[in-house]
Symmetry: C2
Amino acid sequence: MIDIAIFDEHKLVLDGLSVLLSGISDIRIILSCDNRSVLTEKLKSMQIHVLILNMHDISVRNLNLIVQLNISSPKLKILIVSVIDSEEIVLKTIKAGAKGFLGKDSDRNSLLEAIYTLRNGHDYYSKSITHLLLNRYISSLKADDVNQNTDMTSLSSRQIEILKLWGESYTNQEIAERFFISVRTVESHKNHIMQKLNLKSTVDMVKYAIKNNIIEI
Amino acid sequence: MIDIAIFDEHKLVLDGLSVLLSGISDIRIILSCDNRSVLTEKLKSMQIHVLILNMHDISVRNLNLIVQLNISSPKLKILIVSVIDSEEIVLKTIKAGAKGFLGKDSDRNSLLEAIYTLRNGHDYYSKSITHLLLNRYISSLKADDVNQNTDMTSLSSRQIEILKLWGESYTNQEIAERFFISVRTVESHKNHIMQKLNLKSTVDMVKYAIKNNIIEI
DNA sequence: TTTTCCCTTACGTGAAACACGTAATTGCAT
DNA sequence: ATGCAATTACGTGTTTCACGTAAGGGAAAA
């Protein structure tokens, strides 16, 4: 018997995924959840084998969720379901500690296959993902420390504050006034951000901030 | 009997949604599809009452899909399912011709309710959405021409070309060289873009370009 | 047909932002 | 204690932005 938890921000999709698994005799859905903090809380007191996590967007929040769950529930295997399947993003979830990834080519059978595979202690990536990762060394990635930089922790809080305001179209002058610092300092912070993240232009910086949910589109 | 088509780019979610509707006696799922062009083609030769469209992102592509389906199949009612529920986005889908919107607070019952409501010729918006739209005049919006500007057509092709390169972190100088024009002209184009779209900063311009799929994140 | 409107091209000028380097102070961690 | 990163800030030169002006071309409307 495999005990499953499912998380999806969209109730409808959550219900859909639940129903897909409801007929299987050796799979038991223990928890079906659309709230992040409820999920974290409940998982602490439960012995779940596999968590199915539908990620609508790859944000720092979501990646951190994976990292934290891996710490608080080391036995839990996390299976990512997502339409997003760029190489970068798959790698990030794996680094964060996910044990499987189902891209948008996956169907119900892949889902079941993935659950059994994860339960048996192995990893599962759907075909399109495996193809993506062919030239990468997944194992070497996984050998790294989970807490290693995946861009998540690399910006300081001050840098994020400034990036946030700038991402809301504040001018350097306005940011400087807001924080009672010099315009030159604001420039410095931005320079440091770009150096640190190896960004080539401010356009890249906007993209980075959006990708990491620091600013909203 | 209500004939339904379901579209979702993610097979797994598609299957989930299908299963949610499979037990209902007066609902018949005619088409279950994860490919945009297949969907467009098949809908032409079918008499579908309600199309359930799961939008993972609100792009020009997706909005145009709605517009086009409304033209090619005027009787078809389009029901949007999406985790994205910002006011702007809901308004855009309504402008494009969607007849219903299920936000992430919706469950199976809302889905059924929405389908019946749409079949009866009325619109359906889930609670969170209705709340969003309280102060807006949905009806007046809908009275407008579907082809009215939703920002999609307002930029000239030259302006888009320049926006694209700039969105890939090209400098004005590089863009100028690429097109054999002066740097000042590139600046002019950007000025005109910002004036036309009433953007306050380049950050806004990046966001605009991303929202409208002119540049990739 | 002439007028009107938008697109594309381009410049002038002053302000703001960027690139790159340097550097002092603070605070945390090894 | 010593090192490393964060925060603050400036110098200097280049690039981009903001706003105005403007000429030439083409398409559509009057």
